[in-house]
Amino acid sequence: MSTAATPAASGGLSKKDFASDQEVRWCPGCGDYAILSAVQRVLPELGIPREKIVFISGIGCSSRFPYYMNTYGFHTIHGRAPAIATGLKLANPELTVFVVTGDGDGLSIGGNHLMHVLRRNVDLTILLFNNRIYGLTKGQYSPTSEQGKVTKSTPYGSIDRPLDPVRVALGAGASFVARTIDRNLPHLQETLRRAVAHRGTSFVEIYQNCNIYNDGAFAPLTDKETREAAVVELVHGRPLVFGRPGERRALRLRGLVPEVVPYAEGSTSGAEGGGADGGLWVHDEHDRRLALLLAELEPPAMPVPMGVLLDLEAPEFIAAHMEQERRVTQTQGPGDLERLLRGPETWTVRES
C-alpha cells in the first residue's frame, strides 16, 4: 500500500496517539494484543495523518481491531471487508486503508473477496490473523485448521484439508505476500512497514495464538527450544539460513526439490543466482516462481518461511481507475450535464 505521507501533519505522533479510548476486550494472553501494539508502534513512523488512515474489518475476534485504533475505522460484516475497503478507496484514493481479517473471515466466508481484491491489486494492506480456529464463535475448526482437528464442531476430528493462506494469495496473483507472527515483535513491525510501503494489495498472514481455543498452535515457531530450527527468516538477496547458532542450516534446491544442508556462517557459496542449482537457495522477493516454491515448504521437514515472500511491481487498481477517469475527462471534457440529458436526439414541443 502506498503511503500518502504528509509528514508535517503527523509530526510528533506517538504510539499512544493511535490508541482509541475503548477498552481492549480480547482474552488476556491473546496474540491479538501484540499485533495491535505493533501496528500502533509502526503507524507514527509513517507520517500519515491519523484522519487519512482507515481500518476496515469483518467479524471475528481479530476484526474488533478497528475499535482500538484512534483512526477512522469500520467493523463491518463477516468476510466482506475487502469489498468495502475497495469501495472506500475508490471513493477517496488518498486514504491509507488497512483490512483486518481472520482465517475464518478472510478465507472461509470471505475467500472470494480476498481472491478478487488480490487480483485487482487494490492499494490496501491486508492483515490476516491466522489462529487456525474460529475464536469469536468459541472454537470451531477453521479452513486453516489441520486435518483431524477435534473441535466443538468436529468431535471426531475434522475431515477437510486445510488451505494455506499464502498459497491462496499466490494463486490469486497477489503482488505482495508476507508472513509473520505475533510473538516476534521486531519481525512483525518490519513486515508491517514493508507491507505499507508496497503499492497494491499487500497480503500479510500473521500467525496468532488463540490461547483459549487453539493454544500453542504455533508453539514450535515460538518456543525458545525449537523456533530457530523451525523458522527461516527471509532476507532479500540472502540465502535461506536457519537453525540455532552452531547448528545453522541452509536450503538448497535440487531441481525443484528443497534440501536442507549445513551452513557455515558467512558462507554464500554459489549464492549468486536466485534459487540457482548447486548453490544455496537465495531469496529473491521479486521472483514469483521462487515464492511459489517457498510456499511449498512444509513443517516439520522444512522450516516455515517468515518475512516477505513476494514483492512485485504490478499495475494498481485504484490508480488505474483514476487514470482512466482523468483520461476520459481529458478526451471528452468534464461532464456536461445538459448535453448528457439531451442525448443524441431531441425534438421540441412548443406551446400550442
Binding site: A9, S20, D21, Q22, P49, R50, E51, K52, V54, I56, P66, Y67, M69, N70, T71, Y72, G73, F74, H75, T76, I77, R80, P82, A83, I84, A85, T86, G87, L88, K89, L90, A91, N92, L95, N112, H113, M115, H116, H321, Q324, E325, V328, T329, Q332, P334, G335, L337, E338, L340, L341, R342, G343, E345, T346, W347, T348, V349, R350, E351, S352
Partner: protein, 628 residues
C-alpha cells in the same frame, strides 16, 4: 435528428384515415433485427410528435436457433395524438417475419387487424420449426379474420439492394428496413429520421448504408404504389407539455438520474454492480460517464457490489448499486449493515420474474416485500418506485437525495418493463430539481466526536468521512450507543436505537408531495397502484370513468415511508382495489398499515397488466363482485 419542431408525417395525407392511436408489433427471429426496427419506428413516431410507449420482448436465449418459437423477438409500440401510457393490450397491426413469429403473436392481433407477413419465410423448414403442419397463409380463414398482406419481403429486399455487391446474408438482413419503410408509410410516419440514423450508423460502411436506405425506400414505395393496403392512416401530434423531448428507456433514465444527483451533490458516485438481467444496462450506461465523476465497479458478485457501495458511502461518495431480485436477496446482509451504520447507499432493484432465477427476461413487481422486510431484524429503509420509464430519472435522483438527507439506505424498485420500455421524456433542467443536502459534520469536534448525534429535524447523523481531521471515529454492525456510537449491549439503548432508526425513516414522509388523485377524492372505489402498472391502471380508470362510473385512482411512488395523506384518502372510499403483478404485496402493506380492506387483482404472467383486465376488475368491483 436534431432539435426541431415536429413536422408531422412526410407522405401525402390525402385519403389517410385519422387515428387517435395505434398499437403495432414487429416480430421475427432474434436475427431479424426486430428490436432495431421497432426502436427506429419509435424514433419516427416521436419525431412526428406523438406520445408513445414501447414494450420490447426478447427471447431468453442469446441467439436462439433460427425459426424456433422460443427464438422469437418482438417490439411493441403504442403511439397516438393523445397521452399514451401503455404499450397497448391488443394489436392493431402485426408484422410477422416468419412462421414462428406468426404463431407466437397472432393471438394478440385484434380481429380485422392489419397483418403483414414475409411470405418468403414460410418455407417447409420454418413451418416445421414453428410446428405448423400446413402453411397458415394458405388457410383462407386467416385472410378472413385479418387484413392479411403476405408480401415477398425477402425477394423484394434482395431486388432493392441488388447491384450493391452485398452477399446474400447481408442483403437478407436489410429486410427489416423494408418492413419499417412499409409500416412507416401505412401510418404516415416520417422516414427522414431513420435515414439520418442510417447515415450516422453506417458512416464508414457506405454499401450497407445504401442497402438499408434502399430497402427502407423500397418498402415505403411498395406500400405507396402497390396500393395493396386498403387504407392509410395518420396520427396527429399529441398535445404534450411544451419543452425539449427525447425518447428514453427506464434504465437510461435511471442512470441519468444518478449522474445528475452526483453532479448536484458534488460528490463522486460509485456504481457497484454485478451484471444481471434486466439491470445490466444501467451498469453499461454508468460506465460511460467517467467524466462526471462516476466510478463504475463491476464487482465479483452482488455482495461485493453492495460492500463497495457501503465502503464508498463511508468514504463520502455516493454509493449506489444496481441489481435484480436474486441480487437483492444477496444484498440483504449488507443492507442491514448500511441501516445500522446509517450510511447513505442506494440500491436499485430492476425486478424480474421469479422466484429464484425465474423468468429473467420478463417483468414482475414481486420484490416489494423483499425490499421492505428482506433483512434480519428491524432494518427499516426508504423504498421508492418510479411509475414510468421517464420517471426513473427523478426517482433515482430522489433516492439519492433522501438517502443523503436522512443518512439511510434507499431501495429503488424498477422492473423489466420500465427498464426496457421507453417513452418521450421532457428533458428537465437540473437546476429545477430539489437541491441535495449533505449532512455536514461539525467543522471540528469539541472533545470527542459523536458520530451518532442526530439532526433534530431529520434524525440524520452527521456524514463525517475519513480524511476529515479531528473527527476520527469507529462504527460497525454491532448495536451502538445513542450519540457516542460506541458498542453498547444496554437493553434500553437497544430499544431506543431500534425506535430511532424507524422514526428517522418515518420522518422522511415529510418529503413526499401530496398525492394526486385521478378522479374524485372520495367515493365508491379507489384503485391504488405502484410502479410500472401506472399507465395501465390510469387508462383503465379513465375508460371506466368515461363510461360514467365513479372510480378514482392514486399511484404510490413512495412505498416506505408511505405518503402521509394516503391513510385519510383510503378512508374516504368504500372499497380499494390494488392491481399488482404479484400476489398482493402492496395490498398486504395497505391492509396492515391502514386496516383497509383492500382487494387485490393479480396476474403474474411476466407481462405488464393489460388495461382491459384492470377495467374488468374495476367493473366487477363496482358491480359488487368480490375481487379476483
Amino acid at each position: 435528428m436534431t432539435t426541431s419542431t415536429s413536422p408531422g408525417a412526410s407522405s401525402s395525407r390525402g385519403e389517410r384515415t385519422p387515428l387517435v392511436s395505434a398499437v403495432v408489433r414487429f416480430a421475427g427471429d432474434s436475427g431479424d433485427g426486430m428490436q432495431l426496427t421497432g426502436s427506429q419506428f419509435a424514433h419516427e413516431v416521436a419525431w412526428a410528435g406523438n406520445d408513445l410507449a414501447t414494450l420490447p420482448t426478447f427471447p431468453a436465449e442469446i441467439r436462439a436457433p433460427a425459426g424456433t418459437l422460443y427464438g422469437v423477438s418482438s417490439f411493441q409500440i403504442q403511439f397516438g395524438s393523445v397521452r399514451v401510457l401503455t404499450p397497448g393490450d391488443r394489436l392493431d397491426a402485426l408484422v410477422a417475419m416468419n412462421p414462428a413469429a406468426l404463431k407466437v403473436h397472432l393471438g394478440d392481433l385484434e380481429p380485422g387487424g392489419l397483418l403483414i407477413v414475409n411470405r418468403n419465410a414460410f418455407d417447409q423448414r420454418n413451418l416445421a420449426r414453428a410446428g405448423y403442419r400446413d402453411n397458415p397463409l394458405e388457410d383462407p380463414a386467416l385472410a378472413e379474420r385479418y387484413r392479411l398482406h403476405a408480401i415477398e419481403v425477402s425477394r423484394l429486399t434482395h431486388e432493392a439492394v441488388a447491384g450493391l455487391g452485398l452477399g446474400h446474408k447481408d442483403a437478407e438482413r436489410c429486410k427489416n428496413f423494408f418492413c419499417l419503410g412499409l409500416v412507416s408509410w401505412v401510418y404516415g410516419r416520417p422516414i427522414e429520421p431513420t435515414i439520418e440514423w442510417l447515415q450516422r450508423r453506417f458512416a464508414r460502411e457506405p454499401a450497407l448504408l445504401e442497402a438499408n436506405r434502399r430497402a427502407l425506400l423500397a418498402g415505403h414505395a411498395f406500400a405507396e404504389t402497390a396500393e395493396i393496403f386498403g387504407e392509410a392512416y395518420r396520427v396527429e401530434p399529441a398535445v404534450l407539455p411544451p419543452g425539449t423531448y427525447r425518447r428514453i428507456s427506464g434504465n437510461q433514465a435511471l442512470a441519468l438520474g444518478l449522474v445528475t444527483a452526483a453532479v448536484r451533490a458534488g460528490r463522486p458516485l460509485l456504481y457497484g454492480s454485478y451484471p444481471i438481467t434486466p439491470a445490466s444496462d444501467i451498469l453499461h450506461e454508468m460506465a460511460r460517464h467517467r467524466n462526471f465523476g462516476v466510478r463504475p465497479f463491476q464487482a465479483e458478485d452482488e455482495i461485493a457490489a453492495m460492500g463497495a457501495a457501503i465502503g464508498a458511502a463511508f468514504g463520502g461518495a455516493i454509493g449506489v448499486c444496481g441489481t435484480s431480485g436474486p441480487g437483492l436477496a444477496l444484498k440483504a446482509e449488507g443492507l442491514g449493515l448500511a441501516v445500522m451504520a446509517e450510511l447513505p447507499v442506494v440500491v436499485i432493484d430492476v425486478q424480474r420474474g421469479g422466484p429464484s432465477t425465474g423468468l429473467p427476461t420478463r417483468t414482475e413487481q414481486a420484490d416489494l416485500l423483499q425490499a421492505l422486510y428482506g433483512r434480519n431484524s428491524e432494518a427499516p429503509l426508504i423504498v421508492l418506485a418510479p411509475a414510468t420509464p421517464g420517471e426513473c430519472f427523478q426517482m433515482a435522483y430522489e433516492a439519492v437525495r433522501l438517502a443523503l438527507k436522512y443518512m439511510v439506505p434507499a431501495i429503488l424498485l424498477s422492473d423489466g418493463y420500465l427498464a426496457n420500455g421507453s417513452e418521450p421524456w421532457r428533458i428537465p433542467d437540473p437546476e429545477e430539481l430539489p437541491p441535495i443536502e449533505v449532512q455536514q459534520p461539525p467543522a471540528a469536534a469539541a472533545g470527542r466526536f459523536a458520530p451518532y448525534a442526530r439532526d433534530e429535524r431529520t434524525l440524520a447523523r452527521p456524514w463525517a468521512v475519513p480524511g476529515m481531521p479531528g473527527l476520527e471515529h469507529r462504527i460497525g454492525g454491532l448495536e451502538k450507543e445513542h450519540i457516542s456510537g460506541n458498542v453498547s449491549y444496554d437493553p434500553d439503548n437497544h430499544d431506543l436505537m431500534v425506535r430511532l432508526r424507524e422514526e428517522k425513516v418515518r420522518r422522511a414522509a415529510a418529503e413526499i408531495p401530496p398525492l394526486e388523485v385521478q378522479g374524485e377524492d372520495a367515493g365508491q372505489l379507489l384503485v391504488v397502484g405502484w410502479g410500472s402498472t401506472y399507465g395501465a391502471i390510469r387508462v383503465a380508470v379513465e375508460r371506466v370513468r368515461a363510461r360514467g362510473r365513479a372510480v378514482s385512482a392514486v399511484h404510490l411512488r413512495y412505498l416506505n415511508p408511505l405518503p402521509p395523506d394516503l391513510g385519510p384518502l383510503l378512508g374516504r372510499f368504500r372499497r380499494v382495489l390494488v392491481p399488482e403483478i404479484n400476489r398482493g404485496q402492496l395490498r398486504r402493506v395497505l391492509r396492515a398499515e391502514f386496516g383497509c380492506d383492500a382487494v387485490g387483482f393479480h396476474r403474474v404472467r411476466g407481462m405488464p397488466l393489460a388495461v382491459g383486465e384492470i377495467e374488468q376488475a374495476i367493473e366487477a368491483l363496482l358491480d359488487g363482485e368480490a375481487g379476483a
